[in-house]
Each structure stands twice: as C-alpha cells, then as structure tokens.
C-alpha cells in the first residue's frame, strides 16, 4: 500500500496542474493581504458604522481578523481547486490509457483505489497547510496579533487573543474533513469518466449548485439543506463563537454550538465513507476498457 501511495503521490506532484492551486491561493491571499494592509482601516470603519452608539477601541485589523476574512472567502474557492486533482485521479488514467495497465498490477483494485484516495487526501492536506501558512502565519507576521473581533449578522463576538490560535487549529482540522468530502465527490465521479474534464466540471457544478441552494434560504430548499454537504462545510465558523454565562460574559475556551460541529462532522464523514465505498464498489465491478 505504501509503495502504491508513493507512486500516486509522485504522479500528482509531477503534473504542473497540481501547482495551480498553490499558485492561485498564494496570489489571492497575497492580493487580499496587500489590499487590507493599504485600505483595511476603511473596511473596518465601514463595518463599525453599524455599531452606531458604540466605540470600538484597539487594533481591530490584526492577523487573526485578516485570516478569518481570508478563510471566509477561500474556503468557498479552495474546494474547486481540490476538485482539479481529485476528479482527475481515475479518469486521468483512463484518458491516458494507463488505467488497465495499472489495474493489472499484483495489487487488488481496492488497494489501488484507496492509494489514489489517500494520495488525494495528502495533496489536500498540503494545500490546506499552505493556506494556513499564508493566511494565518503570514497575516500574523504582517498585521500582528490581537483580540479577534467578529461582526456577525445578529451579534458580535470578541475573543481574547490567547483564546484564538487553538480555534484556528480546530477550524483547519474541520476544513480538512470538508475538503476531503469535496475530494470524495470528485473521486467518485472520476470513476465513471474516460477523461478529466467531465468529473471536474460536474464536481464544481455540484458545489456551486449546493452552495446556491443553501444561500437562497427559501423554505422549499430548507428541507434538503441539512443533507447537503456544502451546508456543513461552513460549520468551521462555529469554532469562533463563544458561550456566555448568566451575566452575559463570554466564557473563554468555550464553543457555542459543539453539537452542531459534531453533527456536521458526522454528516461529512458519512459522505466520505459512502462515496469512497461506492467508488471502490464501482471500480471493482467495472469492466476496464482503457
């Protein structure tokens, strides 16, 4: 299995396409950091206008705040970049005509498919680490640290500086599971195609469609929203909401809705296990002609 995994990783990182995601995220993050460094205060002032009768003092636009803004935008787009690799894993081989050769090796089809999936997971993990380095550590380096001040639509959350970092670690961990779910969708669709374009476009379309359905907030879609994986992908934000005590004081180290996080993790895990099992089952039954 380890040998298969090494081969799959070699294949992934030999392709120039792999580095598109790393380049794109680097460009996007750098541009946004530059914009926030130059005009960030205006953005912060604009948001604070809605607070009207309150004065907010302190360093609002610090590295933690910048990272949160970046993640809100990036974690919508990074899944699309993960799709580029995940949806190519099997269909790419079929397209090149190497799938039959690969499956004729003295390894079970299950081992080969799982090796491909684990290689996709490692690629996703590396991409997420890259995002974390750029969005969190570079932002901290450029903007410094401070309390995290989050303005949600209905309320404001102020998290103490020393209570933030672990939340980011958890949020990135959660994001990893969410991205693996997307990878699983792409991987599953990849099993049915003879070239990469179809599954890549199909996976992206599913993500966009599900995201739109979730955002529309119409009663007709609300019954299916809890079952869409995109609904649960954004739950990483729950790590940045605190509980309050009877005096309405935020409790350091607490998470407002831990059951929701666990519930979402379970749903995403069901997606992953279901899709990978289905992919293995399809590939084991499939008559490989290319």
């Amino acid at each position: 299995m380890w040998q298969l995994l090494q081969i799959e990783l070699y294949k992934i990182f030999r392709r120039p396409r792999t580095y598109i995601a790393f380049g794109a995220t680097a460009a996007l993050i750098t541009l946004m950091q530059f914009g926030l460094k130059v005009d960030g205060q205006e953005y912060a002032d604009f948001m604070l206008q809605s607070l009207g009768s309150f004065d907010v003092q302190g360093k609002l636009l610090n590295g933690y705040m910048v990272c949160y803004i970046l993640l809100q935008l990036l974690l919508v787009h990074v899944p699309l970049l993960v799709t580029l690799i995940a949806a190519d894993m099997i269909s790419g081989e079929a397209n090149l005509g190497t799938l039959r050769l690969l499956l004729s090796k003295p390894y079970s089809r299950t081992s080969i498919i799982l090796a491909k999936f684990f290689a996709t997971c490692i690629y996703t993990l590396l991409l997420l680490i890259w995002v974390a380095i750029l969005a969190l550590f570079v932002s901290i380096f450029v903007f410094g640290t401070g309390d995290l001040f989050l303005m949600k639509t209905e309320y404001i959350v102020l998290i103490k500086q020393n209570d933030v970092f672990w939340r980011y670690c958890c949020a990135f961990g959660f994001a990893f599971v969410a991205l693996i779910t997307v990878a699983s969708v792409g991987f599953f669709l990849s099993a049915f195609a003879e070239n990469s374009i179809g599954p890549i476009v199909a996976t992206m379309s599913i993500i966009i469609l599900f995201t739109v359905l979730g955002t529309l907030n119409l009663p007709v879609f609300q019954t299916i929203n809890p079952y869409l994986f995109t609904t649960h992908m954004v739950i990483w934000k729950e790590f940045f909401d605190e509980k309050v005590n009877v005096n309405n004081e935020a409790i350091a180290g607490s998470i407002q809705d831990m059951p929701q996080i666990i519930h979402s993790l379970i749903i995403l895990s069901i997606y992953i296990i279901g899709l990978i099992t289905a992919t293995v089952w399809v590939m084991r039954k499939k008559d490989i002609l290319s």
């Binding site: 604009f46 948001m47 809605s50 607070l51 009207g52 009768s53 309150f54 004065d55 907010v56 003092q57 302190g58 360093k59 609002l60 803004i69 809100q72 935008l73 640290t145 401070g146 309390d147 001040f149 303005m151 949600k152 639509t153 209905e154 309320y155 404001i156 959350v157 102020l158 998290i159 103490k160 500086q161 209570d163 979730g214 955002t215 907030n217 609904t231 954004v234 739950i235 934000k237 909401d241 605190e242 309050v244 005096n247 309405n248 004081e249 935020a250 409790i251 350091a252 407002q256 809705d257 929701q260």
Partner: protein, 239 residues
C-alpha cells in the same frame, strides 16, 4: 370707598409679598443646589489626573465579550482613555466619560433642587443640572448626591446624540477624591444588524440566542482595583 381702596391695597401687598417669598425660596433652593454641585466639583477638582486598573464587564445582548483587565487614564479637563492590554474594547459612546468630573466639567449650568431620594440606603439630594449652552450635547443631568460625603452616587444623563444613560457609582478607599471603586453604566442598546454581504456570513445563523438578543438594555461595569492619583499622565496616551 376709601375703605375699599385700603382693602384692595392690602390684598395687592399680600400678593406681592407671597410672590416675593416664592421667588426668594426658589432662588435659595437653586443657590443651595449650585452650591452643593460646586462643593462636589471642588472635591473632584483635587484630582488632576489618574491611572487606574480595573476589570471591565460588558453586558449587552448582542455582544459576546469576555471579562477583561483594563487600564483607565484620565487627565483634566475631559481626557479619558480606556485601554485593554493589546486588546479590543467595546464601549457605549458617551459612556467613555465614566467619570463624574466630566459630567459637571463646566460652570455653565443651572442647578435645581429636585428633592431627596435614597440610593443604596444612603439619603441623597436630587439635583437637576440644565446646561445653559443651547448647543450642549447633554440635555439634562440628574445627580443623586450624598450630601454628607459629597459623593455622586448616581447620575442620569440625557444627551442629544447617544440617548439616556445611567451611571451608578460605588465608593471605596478612594472616596476622599470622589473616585469610585465600581462604576455601572446602563443604557439603551440600539438594534444591531449587519447585512450578510458585509459579514460574509452566508450561512444561516443559529436561532439559539435570539431570545437573549431581544433584551435591549445594555450595561458596562468597571471594577477599579487601584488608582494612581496626580502622578502625571502623558498626553500621548490619549492620542
């Protein structure tokens, strides 16, 4: 006829005397009230500046903020700065002057005696302060003054910009300077709502806290643990 004229004159004199008495009494009341406010002011004037450390508690329905340590700087006449060690603080506008010296910082007011009241089992004089300046942001201040100790125990201030807020003060070892050990600032918190496009929160928010968010009363408390009085505060602190 003459008798009638005499009687008429007598009534007029009586009426004039009554009017004079009422006017004099009001003038005396007003003078007493001004005198009392000035006495309190003189006491507060002993403090030119201070640096205080304390604990800040924010109780506003739509704000989830932790209890935090703060440093408060004050310098005459009305410089006030609350600093949270490298952190962010959210305070109601107008509430930053949680110092009575700023409430009665001017001589340009009319003080009226509005009777007595009991605050925390202490008999207090109720004084209404009306600013003479028509452009003043403060419309009316009601002070509850402990006459014996010359301490303001409570103040209700109505402003043009920031509505009405109430400041309750509890005194401890710094009462000789008129500095409170604890200040509770209560106010009406206006509605807060941000469009999802600005917050980038495109997912649905949890309704769990919605009941709590209906409470529109806000409260900010500062528990002072120590004051450093009249040792000088650099102007750069307030910039």
């Amino acid at each position: 006829m003459r008798e009638f004229e005499k009687l008429k004159m007598k009534y007029i004199l009586k009426a004039l005397f009554l009017l004079f008495t009422i006017h004099f009494s009001l003038f005396t009341f007003s003078q007493d009230a001004t005198e009392l406010v000035n006495k309190v002011k003189d006491k507060l004037d002993k403090v030119n500046d201070y640096t205080a450390t304390g604990i800040l508690r924010t109780d506003v329905a739509f704000i989830k903020a932790p209890v935090s340590k703060v440093i408060v700087y004050y310098k005459k006449p009305d410089h006030f700065r609350l600093q949270k060690n490298g952190g962010i603080s959210i305070l109601p506008k107008g509430g930053v002057s949680v110092n009575m010296r700023t409430v009665i910082s001017t001589n340009n007011f009319t003080a009226l005696d509005a009777g007595d009241a009991v605050i925390n089992n202490v008999k207090t004089k109720v004084i209404k302060l009306l600013p003479n300046d028509e452009n003043s942001d403060v419309v009316l201040s009601t002070l509850y003054i402990d006459e014996a100790n010359l301490l303001i125990l409570k103040a209700i201030t109505t402003t043009r910009e920031n509505g009405t807020y109430e400041i309750t003060m509890h005194y401890g070892k710094y009462s000789e300077y008129g500095l409170p050990g604890k200040v509770v600032f209560s106010f009406d918190a206006k509605n807060y709502k941000l469009p999802k496009g600005i917050t980038l929160d495109f997912d649905e928010e949890k309704p769990a806290d919605m009941e709590r968010l209906k409470n529109k009363k806000g409260k900010v408390e500062i528990d002072y643990s120590s004051y450093i009085i009249n040792k000088g505060v650099d102007d750069s602190v307030f910039k």
